[in-house]
């Protein structure tokens, strides 16, 4: 295998790998920009993956089969919004501590998805999944074309969402409100910006994106569902937000770096270098800890009120 083919292999596996991380991390970015730390991302992704998978599994033989993926993606987005609002109820309205609430949501989502899956489906079953949709002309570009311009619809959506979320966060009034309630909620409140409502909206959007990320895992990437399909990607997404400094472009870079590192490790294994595979699987998790340790110094750019519930009645 020559070098050129090796790079091609690494990128053609790595770039699609990054989509789920990217979607979830962008969602988490909106949460954190609004001042809410959502560790339940993992649980929302589990539910999204399951709900996304369900229609594709049940409608395979019916007349609705062509629409199954679309229904699944819609369903995953819907359940994501629902769980995001549940999380908002607990952390914004009831002002519960966010770290532990996130773990609760993670258990809930993981548990529900696992229970329903084992009861209704039982074993690992494949689905056709999302088809790749090569873009005419662009996909003919040598080298890059087959990698970047022949992915599935959800992947295009994820990459297009990066500039859009940059625009949304930094160039629209809503984005300004989100950043305001995450940085100085009291001032925002004084100016008449509804703090709770804005946080609810950000959490709903974050849940939607996490749900889509889950659907991408089951429909686009694995093309099947298993209990542990998310395997910590929700938590990795949270770490990527730190790594990307709460900026969509930084998060895109982080997601790409992360998944390319992972596919590099797969490619090295294929080359036949003797290495216990458990250590290869560990790699991304070790990388997260390293990334967190490196990026902590620049937390100045982050939302200052991250993780704190806003209490209008509280005297300073």
């Amino acid at each position: 295998m020559n070098f050129f083919m090796f790079v091609n292999n690494v990128l053609s596996i790595g770039i699609p790998f990054s989509v789920a991380l990217l979607l979830a991390a962008l969602g988490e970015m909106f949460n954190q920009r609004a001042g809410v730390f959502n560790l339940g991302c993992e649980g929302i992704m589990s539910m999204g993956a399951f709900i996304g998978f369900l229609p594709a599994y049940y409608l395979q033989e019916t007349a609705l089969a062509p629409y199954a993926n679309m229904i699944g993606i819609m369903g995953a987005a819907g359940i994501g919004v629902l769980l995001g609002i549940l999380y908002a109820l607990v952390t914004v309205t009831f002002k519960a501590p966010q770290g532990i609430a996130g773990i609760g949501l993670q258990m809930l989502g993981w548990g529900i998805a696992g229970t329903l899956f084992r009861f209704f489906i039982g074993g690992v079953t494949g689905v056709p999944g999302l088809p790749n949709r090569p873009i005419p002309l662009l996909s003919k570009i040598p080298f890059l074309g087959p990698i970047i311009f022949s992915m599935n619809g959800l992947a295009y959506f994820a990459f297009l969402f990066v500039p859009f979320s940059y625009y949304l966060l930094f160039k629209t009034p809503w984005g300004l409100k989100v950043r305001a309630v995450g940085t100085y909620p009291r001032a925002a409140d004084t100016m008449g910006i509804p703090v709770s409502k804005t946080r609810y909206q950000a959490l709903a959007l974050g849940g939607l994106l996490a749900g889509l990320a889950g659907a991408y895992l089951s429909l686009g990437q694995a093309k099947m569902f298993a209990d542990d399909i998310v395997a910590g990607r929700g938590f990795i997404a949270v770490a990527l937000v730190y790594f990307g400094q709460w900026n969509p472009l930084g998060i895109l870079g982080g997601a790409l770096l992360f998944s390319i590192a992972q596919s590099l490790q797969l490619a090295i294994q294929v080359l036949g270098i003797n290495f216990p595979y458990e250590f290869a699987v560990m790699l991304p998790y070790v990388l997260v800890i390293v990334v967190l340790a490196i990026t902590r110094g620049s937390a100045i750019k982050g939302p200052t009120e991250l993780g704190k519930a806003y209490d209008r009645e509280k005297r300073i």
Binding site: G104, L108, I112, E278, V281, R296, E313
Partner: protein
């Protein structure tokens, strides 16, 4: 009268929280098309019908108590240890390795040594996130969760590689498990024919120790102060970072001990999936027990009951045992919400006024504020 209202208020909110948690579980059961009352009846009563069921509850309550004692220390000190799952596995590895390496040692030495090894194994595993949090400010929830995933892989690697039972390689199916521990490393069973072992005594004694540590020593006071208000603690001259690190290491030590007790008392060899989610259940048990040893023991028994009961529903009416996770998640969310509502002075004030006017006199016209408040 003031305190009566307060008690009614707390009871009402706690009841509402319990109802909400049950309702979430009921919705999931409804989707499965199972009978909600039948399922809850099986979970809550079936394990209590014979001696095996009751001892199995206690067998699960032992690691749950140990893990959640550690978690209570860490939560009280303001550092959230979600990594008990990995720390348990490190405790299992260290305990089993010592027991296997020293088969000829007398029992009265080997058992404590294996438990000590497990404790150290867990403590070392939690030292990493504890140090990163104390010195570099790395979010401990993320790092402990990551350490869990790393521990699973490391544990699997050891069981498939260096620690695998040689017999499995020669004649067996290659099941990833260690050799059986030497008899001299076993914690004895209390009732023959059941799996209940003397680890229960360790758990009870340590509950008392944790109570004394946290509420009767200077160190405990410092750790709780660091958790309650890091800024004031620092102002009072308490080394907050050292408290955080110590709390995390203690939490890991307890989880590691739970692992060592589990391997020497119950399974007697290191097997895959030995931690059986005790690390996550421990978080729920600790919160449900009010982060206090006196609450943790009954709460561990209650969740032991749920775990055994959920296994039974799986066997009897094929409701997957993952249902316990749903219940635990719902319990966490409702407990922390209820706690905030109970401590919300404004909500309580409104409730108290309405309660007083509703029960003890005619409705008064609303006034914007009645003195004091």
């Amino acid at each position: 009268m003031k305190s009566t209202i307060r008690i009614v208020y707390i009871v009402l909110i706690s009841l509402a929280a319990a109802v909400v948690a049950m309702a979430i579980a009921a919705i999931v059961l409804g989707i499965l098309g199972a009978s909600v009352t039948q399922t809850f009846k099986i979970i809550l009563t079936e394990p209590l019908k014979d001696i095996v069921g009751i001892t199995e509850i206690l067998v699960r309550a032992i690691p749950l108590t140990l893990v959640s004692l550690g978690i209570a220390i860490s939560f009280r000190s303001g550092i959230l240890n979600i990594g008990a799952e990995g720390q348990i596995q490190m405790g299992v590895i260290a305990g089993a390795a010592v027991a296997i390496a020293l088969p000829n040692m007398p029992k009265f030495l080997l058992v404590p040594l294996a438990l000590l090894a497990g404790t150290i194994g867990g403590a070392l595993w939690s030292f990493v996130p504890g140090y990163l949090r104390a010195v570099l400010g790395v979010n401990e929830i993320l790092s402990t969760v990551m350490m869990n995933y790393i521990a699973v892989q490391f544990y699997g690697f050891l069981l498939r590689g260096p620690m695998i039972d040689p017999a499995e390689l020669q004649v067996g199916s290659g099941t990833p498990q260690s050799v059986r521990l030497p008899r001299s490393a076993w914690i004895d069973r209390i009732i023959p024919g059941t799996r209940l072992h003397w680890g229960i005594a360790i758990a009870l004694v340590l509950a008392l120790v944790v109570y004394i540590l946290l509420w009767r020593t200077t160190w405990g006071f410092r750790m709780r102060a660091a958790g309650a208000s890091p800024k004031s603690a620092r102002y009072a001259g308490i080394n907050v970072e050292r408290c955080l690190l110590m709390a995390m290491v203690l939490a890991g030590a307890f989880a590691g001990l739970a692992g060592a007790v589990e391997v020497t008392g119950v399974h007697r060899r290191a097997i895959e999936g030995i931690s059986s989610n005790y690390g996550f259940s421990g978080v729920v048990v600790a919160l449900f027990g009010g982060l206090h040893p006196a609450g943790i023991i009954p709460s561990a028994v209650f969740f032991g009951l749920l775990l055994v009961g959920a296994d039974m529903t799986q066997r009897m009416i094929s409701i997957p045992a993952n249902m316990v996770l749903v219940l635990q998640g719902a319990v966490i969310l409702s407990i922390i919400s209820a706690k905030m509502l109970i401590n919300d002075p404004y909500l309580y004030d409104r409730f108290a006024r309405r309660f007083a006017s509703g029960f003890f006199g005619p409705r008064r016209p609303k006034t914007p504020k009645e003195g004091g408040a």
